[in-house]
């Protein structure tokens, strides 16, 4: 569990390669899947195009549930990319774990708090940016921190931090704990030879299936909350 991380400094910036590599892999998988699905686009959709359009309809549905008006449609691409990237990231570690000399090279990128915090930081910054853009800086302050009642200002400010932490740590916690338990079951299967290996197989399968479910739910929750935070910033309360 406590594998060492392979850290490389490039221009004095510390890069955790055992976190970056799976992220790159997930991005590549997402890109090539979508690329493959979007070949031969026709007016009358067939086969792969139907799958892609179903995914797009699904993510657009998430947007519509929080922002039913026309304004929401501009976030379609962001939510689509965010959902597919997090979904693939969550499932990646369930299927593929590569450890070399106790150093992880392939796992779920979202099982690292750095990744989920980056994503959460990015979408929340984007939400604040949209708020400022729409209402101006004064309007943004008023809308976000001073309404409905000004004396809740400290709580409003605190809420922004908790939003960030909960959004990031919820995803991280779910996926990380899933992987920890997967490894625990793996260790258990190894420890007593055949006597523990055989019962470990169905346990591992069941936990993997459950983790697939959790990973999907968490991807959905993450993008739904992203939309909620964005709509809070750009809609007058």
């Amino acid at each position: 569990m406590n594998e060492g991380a392979y850290v490389q400094e490039i221009f004095g910036i510390p890069f955790n390669i055992s976190n970056d590599l799976p992220g790159l892999l997930a991005a590549i998988i997402v890109f090539f899947t979508m690329f493959w699905l979007s070949r031969k686009i026709q007016l009358k959709p067939t086969g792969r195009q139907n799958v892609l359009e179903w995914i797009i309809d699904f993510t657009n549905g998430i947007i519509k549930s929080t922002m039913p008006n026309k304004e929401g449609s501009q976030f379609g691409l962001l939510i689509f990319t965010l959902f597919s990237f997090i979904f693939v990231s969550n499932q990646l570690g369930l299927m593929l774990q590569v450890n070399v000399n106790n150093t992880a090279y392939i796992k779920s990128p979202t099982a690292d708090a750095m990744t989920t915090m980056t994503l959460a930081f990015m979408v929340l910054l984007f939400a604040h940016f949209l708020g400022v853009k729409k209402f101006g800086f004064r309007g943004y302050i008023k809308n976000t921190y001073l309404s409905p009642i000004p004396f809740l200002l400290p709580i409003s400010i605190l809420e922004e931090f908790t939003n960030f932490l909960t959004l990031a740590l919820r995803l991280y916690g779910n996926i990380y704990s899933g992987e920890v338990l997967l490894k625990l079951i793996y260790e258990f299967g190894r420890s007593f030879g055949l006597a523990s290996f055989i019962p470990a197989i169905p346990l591992e399968i069941i936990w993997q299936g459950f983790s697939v479910f959790i990973g999907s739910i968490q991807a959905y929750v993450f993008v739904t909350l992203t939309m909620v935070y964005i709509s809070q910033k750009i809609e007058k309360e």
Binding site: A5, V7, E9, I10, I13, P14, F15, N16, N19, D20, G23, L24, A27, V30, F31, M34, F35, L37, S38, I41, Q42, L43, P45, Q49, L52, E53, I56, G76, L77, L78, F80, T81, S84, F85, P109, D112, A113, M114, T115, M117, T118, L119, F121, M122
Partner: protein, 175 residues
Amino acid sequence: MGTDFILGAVATSVKWGDMLFYLVLFIVLIALLKHFAWGPVNEMMDKRANKIANDIDSAEDARQKAEDLAEKRQSALKESHVEASQIIERAKKNGEQQKNIIVENAHSEAQSFKETAKQDIARERQDALEGVKNDVAELSLEIASKVISKNLQLDDQKALIDSYIEGLGKQNEVK
């Protein structure tokens, strides 16, 4: 990992390069997906939505047009019915008129034929009578001259004879 990341307590061991890496990675992923998958598919979905809307509109149009056409045809049919009955009516009237004219013509022609025939007969009879009158006059004269052996002047006696013959004629007609 463990406690490293919590509020940056141990700032130096935070691998903040990852943040840059994921930021760049995500933005690049968005750009690529937009160009290769999202853009074309969304465009096609919009196009499809437009096409469906257009198709619905044009179907409505076509239905309206067909309805108009049917109505027009119906009225034309009605009109042609009326016209046909008018034509038949007129033809009947014309026929009647023609018939009347022909019959009238025939009548008048027959009448005139009869008239001329009558006149002819009358004249012929008159001529015949005249001829007979003359003959009778001459004959009576001859007979009389022979009977009384006296040379009677034809012109002097003619009036007498004429009246006599007239009386004969009248006697005949009475008979």
